[in-house]
C-alpha cells in the first residue's frame, strides 16, 4: 500500500508528464556533516515547471516502494516538504540552517528528492538518497582579527590576559545581517549539559557584548568580547574551556535561532595560563638505585596518595651527562600532575646500551612500584600514558628503544609499545641510522638547538644531525628548532655547549623548554585540545605567556604533521619523482626557477653555497628516503600549481591545508633579506573561482636560517622547515565563493605581488589534514 502521506501529497500535486528528478545534493555532496547553526545549500535538479518535494526521515532505508528501491526509511517520522515548482533552469535551490538544538547532536537525517511525474507517488521520479549528520562542533566564532585576508583566524587557544574576539562572516551566516544580538562567553558545556540548561551566563568582565551585524566582510562583524579577563586557571590541567554563543533572538537562552561555538564536548575556546610557570602541586623528589645503571631520580606530586593514576615521563640523559640534571623538567611536570623518572643511562658504550637502560629502567620502575618511596606510587601510575624523553645520545636511545620493541627484539615486562604515547628527543645523535633508529609509527618530537656545539647539525657529520629521526617518523611528528641555544642548555648543569651568535643561555632556554614541554606532553599523553595550538601556531602568533619574547635572540620554529589516517597528501615528493607530477599523481605546473626534487640531504660536508640543490638540508643521511623540493625566484611573480586529483577534490571534510617550508641557507637570495619570507597560497575550484591567502597573514612566515658561521664558507646554519597551516574554511571568508567540495588546483605564488620579492625555498608535505 502506498504510504498515506505520499498519497496525499501526490493528490495535492499537479499532474505533469514525463517529469524526472535527476539529483539531490547538499553543498554539492550526497553526505555531509554539518555544524549546528550552519547553512546547508540544497539543490534538487529535475524537470522544469513541475512540483518538487523533499522527503526527510531518520532511517536511510532502502525501502521497496512502487516497484523500485528508494533510499529512505519511510518511517512514521517521515516529513514531506513541498518545494514548489522546479524553475525553468531545472535546478531548485534552497537553504536550510542546521538548528542549534542540543538534542539533535550526532543525529543523522536522510533525504530524498522527488518531482511529480504523475498524480500518485508511484508516478513520482525519485533521486538517490542524501544524508546530513549534525556534527559535534558548532560554528567557528572565537578567534583573532588579522590585518589581511582572511581577516580573521579562528583558534582554539588564547593566552590568559589576551583579548578574545568573535568574528561572524555574513557570507557564511547571511541570516545575521541587520540583526542586533548579544554575544556571550559562557562556561563550557557538553551537549547534554546544554540540553539540560540552555541559559546563558556571560563570564567576561563587562558582560555580554551587544553586536549589530552588517552586510559586508567579517572585519565589519568582528567584536572584541573579552579584553583578557577570562581565567585560564585550570589547576593541573591546561586550558579553561568556554563556549561562545551569539544570541540572535536575545532571549538569554541557547536555542535553535542562535549561533554557538563549542556545541559538543569540545569547547568553543580555551584560555590557557602561563605554561612556563609551575603548576599548583607540591612536588616530592627522591633519589634511589636498583643496582647498576638503575639509578633513578624521581619527581611526583607530594599528595599522590589522594590522586588517581598519573601519566609517566621517563627521561634518558646524554653522554657525559647525569640523570640528576633534569630537575627543571621534573619539578615542572610533576607540579602539573605527572610522575617524572630520570634514570642513569649507559651512553658511554653507545646507543644500543643507552636504549637498553631506557628499556630496563622503565621496566624496573613499573615493576618495583611497591618498594619505591615505600610504595607511595603503587596504583597511581597510568602506564598507558607514557612519554620517553631523551637527550643527545639518550635522545637517539629512546627512539632506538622504541624501534627494538617495534621490531620484536625486546619485550617489556610491565608495559607495551602502545603505552608509549610520545617519544621526544633533545638534540639527538644519529649513530645507527634508519635501519636501527627508526621511530616507525610513534608520535615523535625533536628539540633542535641551533647553536649546538656538540650535535652541531653541520653537514660534515651524519651522526651530529638531529633532524634525521624526525623525518623517519611515519605518522604524527613535530619539531621545535631554537636559534642561539646550546646542547647543554637543555639540562640544568653547567655549560651551554654552544657556538654561534646571539646565544640565548640556560635560563631563557629553560623557559621555552618548560613552556613547550607541558603542552607537548599533555597533547600527546592526555589528548589535551588547546595544547595542540602550541605545537603548530607560529611563535610570532602564539607562544607561552612567560616565554622570553623580549629577548631578541629567541627564535622558535615549529613543525607539526598529524597522522596519515586523516589526511590527503597532495605532494610529499616521496613518489612520482618528477617535478611535473605530484606524489598524489596530479600534474605540477611551475614557473619558478631551478625547481628540483630530491632526498633532503646536503650532498657534501659543508653549508657553503655551492649550487647543490639540497645545500643546507640535514633531514636525511644515506638510506634515508625523506624527500622535498627546492627552487628560487627573484623579483618576478612565479608559481607552482598542483592539480588536485579526483580523490582530493572534495576537501570539505578536512580542516586545514598544511605544508612545511624553509629558506635555503647561505643563498644569495636568502641573504638579500634576512627576515621571515612570505608567499601566497591560492585555491581554485572546478569552476575557476579562486581564493588566495598570504602565509604571513597569520603572523610570521618562513624564518631565515640561524646566522651561525662555520661548516664551510658563509653565514647561516641548516635549513629549518616551519609548518604553515591554513584553515580551509579561511579560503571561504568574505564570500570568496570557493567550492571546497570541488577543488581543482593549489597554487603556491611567489614574488612581489604575492609576498617577499625574492627567495630560495625548500618545500614539503603539502596536504589537506584534520589533525
Amino acid at each position: 500500500m502506498t504510504h498515506p502521506i505520499l498519497r496525499s501529497v501526490a493528490l495535492a500535486s499537479g499532474l505533469c508528464s514525463s517529469a524526472f528528478a535527476a539529483d539531490l545534493t547538499i553543498d554539492g555532496q550526497q553526505n555531509v556533516n554539518k555544524a549546528p547553526g550552519t547553512t546547508m545549500n540544497w539543490s534538487l535538479t529535475g524537470t522544469p515547471n513541475v512540483t518538487g518535494y523533499l522527503l526527510l526521515d531518520v532511517d536511510p532505508g532502502p525501502t521497496q516502494l512502487f516497484g523500485q528501491s528508494l533510499e529512505l526509511g519511510f518511517t512514521p517520522a517521515l516529513t514531506l516538504i513541498n518545494l514548489g515548482l522546479v524553475p525553468g533552469n531545472g535546478s531548485l535551490d534552497f537553504a536550510i540552517i542546521t538548528p542549534s538544538d542540543p538534542s539533535l547532536l550526532g543525529l543523522t537525517f536522510y533525504g530524498l528528492g522527488a518531482v511529480a511525474d504523475g498524480p500518485t507517488a508511484a508516478q513520482f521520479s525519485y533521486t538517490a538518497g542524501v544524508s546530513v549528520t549534525i556534527g559535534e562542533r558548532g560554528v567557528e566564532l572565537a578567534g583573532n582579527p588579522l590585518g589581511a585576508y582572511p581577516n580573521f583566524e579562528f583558534v582554539r587557544a588564547f593566552n590568559e590576559g589576551s583579548a578574545v574576539s568573535v568574528g561572524v562572516d555574513p557570507s557564511r551566516h547571511p541570516a545575521v545581517v541587520g540583526v542586533t544580538a548579544d554575544v556571550y562567553v559562557v562556561a563550557s558545556k557538553t551537549a547534554s549539559e546544554w540540553q539540560a540548561d540552555p541559559s546563558l551566563v556571560d563570564l567576561t568582565g563587562d558582560g555580554a557584548e551587544v553586536a549589530t551585524f552588517v552586510a559586508g566582510s567579517i572585519t565589519a562583524n568582528t567584536f572584541t568580547v573579552d579584553t583578557g579577563t577570562l581565567s585560564g586557571d585550570a589547576g593541573v590541567g591546561l586550558g579553561v574551556g568556554y563556549d561562545v554563543v551569539v544570541d540572535l533572538n536575545r532571549d538569554g537562552l541557547l536555542d535553535a535561532a542562535d549561533l554557538i561555538d563549542g556545541f559538543g564536548d569540545e569547547s568553543g575556546l580555551y584560555v590557557v595560563s602561563d605554561t612556563t610557570a609551575p603548576g599548583p602541586l607540591a612536588v616530592t623528589e627522591a633519589l634511589y638505585s636498583g643496582g647498576t645503571f638503575l639509578g633513578q631520580n624521581l619527581f611526583y606530586p607530594t599528595d599522590i596518595a589522594n590522586m588517581g593514576r598519573l601519566p609517566l615521563v621517563v627521561i634518558s640523559h646524554g653522554n657525559g651527562h647525569n640523570y640528576q640534571w633534569y630537575d627543571h623538567l621534573g619539578f615542572h611536570l610533576a607540579s602539573y600532575g605527572f610522575v617524572v623518572m630520570s634514570h642513569q643511562n649507559n651512553t658511554g658504550p653507545g646507543i644500543e646500551t643507552a636504549s637498553t637502560t631506557t628499556l630496563t629502567n622503565t621496566d624496573f620502575f613499573l615493576g618495583r612500584l611497591a618498594t619505591i618511596e615505600g610504595g607511595a606510587l603503587l596504583g597511581h601510575i597510568e602506564v598507558e600514558q607514557m612519554t620517553w624523553l631523551g637527550h643527545s645520545r639518550g635522545g637517539e636511545g629512546v627512539a632506538r628503544a622504541y624501534d627494538r620493541i617495534f621490531d620484536g627484539d625486546w619485550v617489556p615486562k610491565h608495559y607495551a609499545l602502545e603505552d608509549i604515547q610520545l617519544v621526544t628527543s633533545m638534540a639527538p645523535t644519529d649513530f645507527l641510522g634508519p635501519a636501527q633508529t627508526d621511530p616507525h609509527d610513534a608520535n615523535y618530537h625533536v628539540w633542535v638547538a641551533g647553536a649546538d656545539a656538540d650535535v652541531n647539525g653541520c653537514a660534515s657529520s651524519d651522526i651530529a644531525q638531529p633532524l634525521h629521526i624526525h623525518d623517519r617518523a611515519e605518522e604524527k611528528r613535530a619539531a621545535i628548532s631554537l636559534h642561539g641555544v646550546g646542547h647543554g642548555d637543555f639540562h640544568n648543569s653547567s655549560g651551554s655547549v654552544a657556538s654561534g651568535p646571539c646565544l640565548v643561555g640556560k635560563p631563557d632556554t629553560h623557559l621555552v623548554q618548560l613552556g613547550y614541554a607541558l603542552p607537548l606532553i599533555k597533547h600527546h599523553a592526555l589528548g589535551n585540545i588547546p595544547a595542540q595550538d602550541f605545537l603548530w601556531r607560529q611563535w610570532e602568533s602564539f607562544h607561552p605567556i612567560g616565554a622570553p619574547d623580549t629577548n631578541p635572540c629567541v627564535v622558535v620554529d615549529l613543525q607539526y604533521r598529524g597522522g596519515s589516517v586523516d589526511a590527503f597528501v597532495i605532494d610529499d615528493f616521496q613518489t612520482n619523482n618528477q617535478i611535473t607530477v605530484s606524489s598524489s599523481g596530479g600534474t605540477v605546473t611551475s614557473t619558478v626557477l631551478g625547481l628540483g626534487e630530491g632526498v633532503l640531504n646536503d650532498p657534501d660536508s659543508n653549508f657553503t653555497d655551492n649550487g647543490a640543490l639540497m645545500n643546507g638540508m640535514t633531514y636525511a643521511r644515506s638510506n634515508d628516503t625523506t624527500r622535498g623540493a627546492v627552487f628560487q625566484y627573484n623579483n618576478v611573480d612565479l608559481e607552482i600549481a598542483y592539480e588536485i586529483v579526483a580523490a582530493g577534490q572534495d576537501a570539505s571534510g578536512f580542516d586545514s591545508l598544511t605544508m612545511r617550508a624553509c629558506q635555503v641557507t647561505r643563498d644569495g637570495l636568502t641573504n638579500l633579506a634576512l627576515e621571515d619570507l612570505t608567499f601566497s597560497v591560492e585555491l581554485a575550484d572546478g569552476s575557476g573561482t579562486t581564493s588566495t591567502i598570504n602565509v604571513g597573514s597569520y603572523g610570521g612566515g618562513v624564518e631565515e636560517p640561524y646566522q651561525r658561521t662555520g661548516c664551510g664558507i658563509g653565514t647561516g646554519w641548516n635549513n629549518e622547515f616551519e609548518t604553515l597551516r591554513m584553515r580551509l574554511s579561511d579560503f571561504e571568508a568574505d564570500g570568496s565563493g570557493i567550492d571546497l567540495t570541488d577543488l581543482a588546483t593549489v597554487t603556491l605564488k611567489f614574488g612581489p605581488s604575492s609576498g617577499s620579492p625574492q627567495g630560495r625555498l625548500g618545500i614539503d608535505d603539502l596536504a589537506f589534514t584534520n589533525d
Partner: protein
C-alpha cells in the same frame, strides 16, 4: 702558542675586521663545546695512579665492546690522562680507551680533573685472584668510535696501532706501588659505589656523578 697569546691574536683580528667596516654580530660568538680531537690519541700519556683488583659474587656484563661478555673480576683503575681533549665528553664518537686489546668502562668523565676512573674486566686465576698483568699491557686511546661496536679484530687492530706508535706498558715497579689489595664485592653495583669514592678523591668536582653512584639501594 699559549692560550693567552691566542686570545690576543683573536682580539687583534677582531679589531681589524671592525676597522675594515665589517658589521659585528649582535652578541659575542662563544664556543664552549667539545674541543676538536687530535688526529691520534696515541700521543697522550695515560698513567695508572691507582689500581684496585676486585672480584664479584655476581657476574656482570662488560657493555663496552661488541662481545658483551660476562665477568666476575677486574681492576678499578685511576688513570691520569695528559690530553684532556681525549676525555672531554661529547655525543659524537669518542676516542676508545684500551688496555691491551681490551676496552675499559669509563665511569667518570675526568675532563676537568684529568683523572679517569675506569673498570677493566678480567678473568680469575685458579686461586680466584684477578689474572691480569698490567705491566704487559699498553694503555692508549685509539680512534673515535662507539665502544659497543668494538669486536675482537677491531681491538687487535687497535693494539697493533698502539704498538706501532710506540705506546708501551707501565713498568711493573711503578704499577706495584699504586696497586691496592684485591677486594670482594657483591655485584658491580657495589663496584660502582666504590668507584664513587675514587672519583671523590681524584675528580671531586663531579659531584652529581658521585651522588648518583651513591644513591641508596632499594631492597632487593
Amino acid at each position: 702558542m699559549n692560550l693567552s697569546m691566542k686570545n690576543v691574536v683573536v682580539a687583534v683580528l677582531a679589531l681589524g675586521l671592525l676597522a675594515g667596516g665589517v658589521t659585528a654580530v649582535s652578541s659575542l660568538l662563544v664556543t664552549d663545546g667539545p674541543p676538536p680531537l687530535p688526529d691520534t690519541g696515541m700521543d697522550a700519556v695515560v698513567t695508572v695512579v691507582h689500581a684496585r683488583p676486585f672480584v664479584t659474587n655476581e657476574p656482570f656484563t662488560h657493555w663496552w665492546d661488541a662481545d658483551r661478555a660476562s665477568y666476575d673480576a677486574g681492576l678499578l683503575l685511576v688513570l691520569e690522562v695528559s690530553d684532556l681533549t681525549l676525555i672531554h665528553p661529547r655525543q659524537t664518537a669518542e676516542p676508545v680507551l684500551f688496555v691491551g686489546d681490551q676496552t675499559v668502562e669509563r665511569i667518570n668523565t675526568g675532563h676537568e680533573s684529568g683523572y679517569l676512573v675506569a673498570l677493566l674486566p678480567a678473568e680469575r686465576n685458579v686461586q680466584g685472584s684477578v689474572d691480569l698483568d698490567l705491566s704487559t699491557l699498553p694503555i692508549y686511546f685509539d680512534l673515535p668510535a662507539l665502544p659497543e661496536t668494538i669486536d675482537g679484530p677491531t681491538a687487535q687492530a687497535a693494539l697493533a696501532r698502539a704498538v706501532a706508535a710506540g705506546v708501551t706498558a707501565q713498568p711493573a715497579g711503578d704499577l706495584a706501588a699504586v696497586t691496592a689489595e684485591q677486594v670482594s664485592f657483591v655485584d658491580v653495583g657495589d663496584v660502582h659505589a666504590h668507584a664513587a669514592d675514587l672519583i671523590e678523591q681524584w675528580s671531586p668536582q663531579e659531584v652529581d656523578l658521585i651522588s648518583g653512584l651513591r644513591a641508596p639501594r632499594l631492597p632487593r
